[in-house]
Symmetry: C2
Subunit: 256 residues, 2 copies
């Protein structure tokens, strides 16, 4: 039975302030919840009779059976799947700069759209990128739209919110040769660039690109070329699409 | 002055039935409207005092000055930009199969999400792809979400709704060697495939991929490899991201 207080709690998790306060987030749909189950502690599982068997093996601190009407009160989906989970956010651990000296990582400078952010988490996962470093103004990784768009990839990709300029400064002080890539209009053709399997790729805000403060810290300015070269067609690519193309190109170069 | 009838008409264009009936679609925001102005006939321009000067040079069959409250009644944006245009949809011309023998084109098999569709139109534009052939069940290119996500690229990319299987059959009967590419799990590593600068690339539905009927007609099955190869990380990429990576790879191969 879904109490009023429970409904209020679940609905509150649509808002960042309450996610931060409770250290919890919501995921909806069997497949997504199944993907996250092994990586996050499940506080609460709400499900309809139809899903009871399918989710029987899920571990959760609390389970509530409800009906379609109950599910309608808590879902943010237009076609709810009949199962909603509240997970604990992962513990904040110290942010590892050293990882960037050893493997390829992503940095997001104020990505605003939660759908773009979730799609980028999924891209990182596909291309074996395990850490995303985000400026504090980047969308919340645990917001419902980001979670749904990331399709379970948060189970494998770690998100760190940090001050990017000081993070990169520290990175450089530790090991000067670690490359810092950024996509910049007028940068070098990415197909002709030397791409490493270590370092940081910075992707910028949807409208503004990478902030000037961070552009200064780049060691490589790269660009995805138009076709034909120099054509004056679309002015830009969606940031998630650009991230996909850039990551694919890094991984193509070293794909064994 | 925005009459009740005008408001009703503009709002009706959020629905496909009324867009089809009136042969009109809506675009919002100065930049988008500016991009579309040269390619589509503007039936109606609604703007606030703030935008009056900026849009003075736009040609439109009718112009209506309104205030913020009036704009609120017709906008579908959370932060309306102060200018909304109603454009005529382009005339339906005969669908050219022969274009696929000469240049690279895209085909979309039931892409459902209008944001994905608009993003794909923008990708096509960036990579100099001028024609997209869509199955009848693909989202409407003239829906407000597709239009906003395409960011003016409809000015340069033509959309054709057709029966894809018979279109491809005709294509093959005209010229057997024209390649038909499709991304398929288990396909050939795209980095090792022979990619042409002619033919058709088919992208499939968000959940189902390319329909079996069309898979049979492919001449090349390609796949974007995971990193590392064979890893069991993310199961799939967002369809717009996959389209971006595939198009980039085709164009990289022949980028002069």
């Amino acid at each position: 039975m879904l109490s009023k207080n429970k409904i209020k709690f679940i609905k509150s998790l649509a808002i960042k302030k309450y996610r931060d306060g409770s250290n919890c987030f919501i995921a909806e749909g069997f497949k997504l919840i199944n993907d996250l189950m092994g990586s996050f502690v499940c506080e609460l599982l709400v499900f309809t009779k139809e899903k009871e068997q399918a989710i029987a093996h899920f571990k959760a601190n609390e389970r509530i059976l409800t009906d379609d009407a109950g599910m309608q009160k808590i879902t943010s989906q237009t076609s709810p799947d009949g199962v909603l989970a509240v997970f604990q956010k992962p513990q904040n651990s110290a942010t590892p700069t050293n990882i960037c000296h050893q493997e390829l990582c992503l940095a997001l400078d104020e990505i605003q759209n939660p759908g773009n952010f979730g799609t980028i988490i999924r891209i990182a996962d596909w291309f074996g990128i395990k850490h995303i470093f985000c400026s504090p103004n980047t969308a919340d990784a645990y917001g419902p739209k980001t979670i749904q768009a990331s399709m379970g990839s948060l189970a494998r990709v770690k998100i760190h919110y940090i001050d990017l300029p000081s993070f990169i400064a520290q990175l450089k002080s530790e090991q000067e040769e670690t490359p810092i890539y950024g996509t910049i209009l007028g940068g070098e053709n990415i197909y002709q660039s030397t791409l490493s399997n270590k370092g940081l790729i910075i992707m910028g805000n949807e409208g503004q690109g990478i902030s000037p403060q961070l552009v200064k810290l780049l060691t490589h300015h790269v660009e995805i070329p138009h076709y034909p070269l120099g054509a004056s067609n679309a002015e830009s690519l969606n940031v998630a699409v650009a991230t996909g193309i850039v990551c694919a190109e890094f991984r193509r170069n070293i794909n064994i």
